[in-house]
Subunit: 296 residues, 2 copies
């Protein structure tokens, strides 16, 4: 059944997600903070809204996917934010990776308008977004989860209900901590082996023959070997997620010693101007320190 | 063709490796520093030697798999060490994970007796050793590698030639750095998510649906969820490998910031008396700090 959808945030992930919904025949109004990203959506029949409030005024489904907690707060509670026009009975699906604590606050504000809120963080990068094959980690009321499922199914292939508000994000922060660390330490290992004289392709064969084989490093290795860091997921956003995870660990009294080191490495790489590249560019930070290149 | 093999080191890995060779019909002499581990080998027809020198006096193949650099040096250059009896033309296969620098020195000493040396570090844990399905990372002369292949094939399913002396070990240290970190950060992520309220089995489903899926964490997760830390690979040895990797990084001028954090976590867990448990027991160190248990 076609829905009336307000879609806010047309970045690397949001753009292909919104296009999938437009192609599926929904009535879309889209908004992006910086203009110039709406052309493809307009061509696909979406209305370009002038503000978040304008995007959601008729919507029974609202989808938000913006960069950080501050951006979500601005979209929701700022001037011309969605709280001004959000309809009672609407479902807000927030796929931004933000603080679980901020997300719970947004859920309360939505409830004050009679709307429901799901935190619905995604994994699968640009690639998964384009193919509609994202994995969603979802927190919120179970009934709202069930009601949102028809739309969620058009965006992803897997939808995991994690529990109450904020628990999708809690899972996502844990998952990104794991994934960011896997990529970073893969790069540390390859820089060490390469400097010793082991060819990267031989080292890769070893990893792929061992239990250290992982989906993310299988995917990133060819890009690392080519030095191609076109962003599937920008390093600056991975760094942001690591800071969120550390902040969340702090709030809950969970010491995370390795996360502590990993996030500083990503921050250092970002400080060197690598933030807009894919997060696999972390290898170049390590390469430059070691004076060796992991290239085939 | 049956070979005359001197086998030194009957630990978690050495015991099943030696048994596989005995079952394959080779003439085996075995030595272990602490006695009481030779019964199964004796029953399988092996001669129990009184010293490393005694174990290798007739051998054309020597296999060493002991715990650290000092143990290898003792076996090779100590009183009644193999240098006293090593035959010219023999091939020494050292599967211990030790310093690549120490290994190169051992290769030179073997050469002074007319023998060849391969560093042939393994991965695959007890499980792989029992099934003859280890992966070997091998450094040394290519011709020696080829000559040793019939024996190596009876111990493992994959044999990767990494280059000259020490490069098998270089690859192994990189591989274990990656693997130890993957397990540690998997545990950090699960402790964070569990404390927030996400069920461990839900978190596992998320990881397994994402690119963060890895062989080692798929293998360890059920043990972590049960709290079963029967050693496949003891935590104290993983810690030792991490210290070796860091030392090797230092020697080569390769900064390894995340390894630096990871090895301290393993050392702290070892200091708490967890060294004899499987290295997945790293989760209990993190659980105790956070006051939560990742159990299903």
């Amino acid at each position: 059944m076609p829905e009336t959808i307000g879609f806010i945030g047309l970045g690397i992930m949001g753009q292909p997600m919104a296009l999938n919904l437009a192609k599926a025949g929904h009535k879309l109004a889209v908004y992006n903070r910086t203009s110039g990203k709406t052309a493809a959506l307009e061509a696909a029949g979406a209305r370009v809204a002038s503000s978040p409030a304008d995007a959601v005024r008729d919507a029974n489904i609202v989808i938000i996917i913006v960069s950080d907690s501050a951006a979500v707060e601005a979209v929701v509670t700022g001037k011309d934010g969605i709280l001004e026009t959000l309809r009672s009975g609407a479902i807000v699906i927030d796929s931004s990776t933000i603080s679980p604590v901020v997300s719970r606050k947004m859920a309360c504000l939505a409830a004050s308008k009679g709307a429901s809120w799901l935190d619905a963080a995604v994994t699968g990068s640009k690639h998964g977004a384009e193919k509609g094959e994202l994995t969603f980690m979802i927190g919120g009321d179970r009934a709202t989860f069930d009601n949102a499922m028809p739309i969620l199914k058009q965006l992803g292939k897997k939808h995991i209900y994690c529990g109450l508000h904020g628990l999708g994000l809690s899972a996502k922060l844990a998952q990104n901590t794991i994934q960011a660390t896997m990529v970073e330490v893969f790069c540390e290992g390859f820089v060490l082996a390469t400097k010793a004289g082991v060819k990267p392709e031989v080292m890769l064969e070893i990893i792929q023959s061992s239990m250290a084989r992982a989906g993310i490093t299988d995917f990133k290795a060819p890009f690392i070997f080519k030095g191609d860091f076109t962003p599937y997921f920008p390093l600056k956003l991975m760094h942001k997620d690591l800071e969120l995870a550390a902040e969340f660990g702090y709030a809950q009294g969970v010491p995370m010693p390795v996360l502590g080191a990993v996030k500083e490495v990503y921050m250092a790489a970002k400080a060197q101007g690598k933030g807009e590249q894919d997060y696999a560019a972390i290898v170049t930070f390590l390469e430059e320190l070691a004076g060796v290149k992991v290239r085939t």
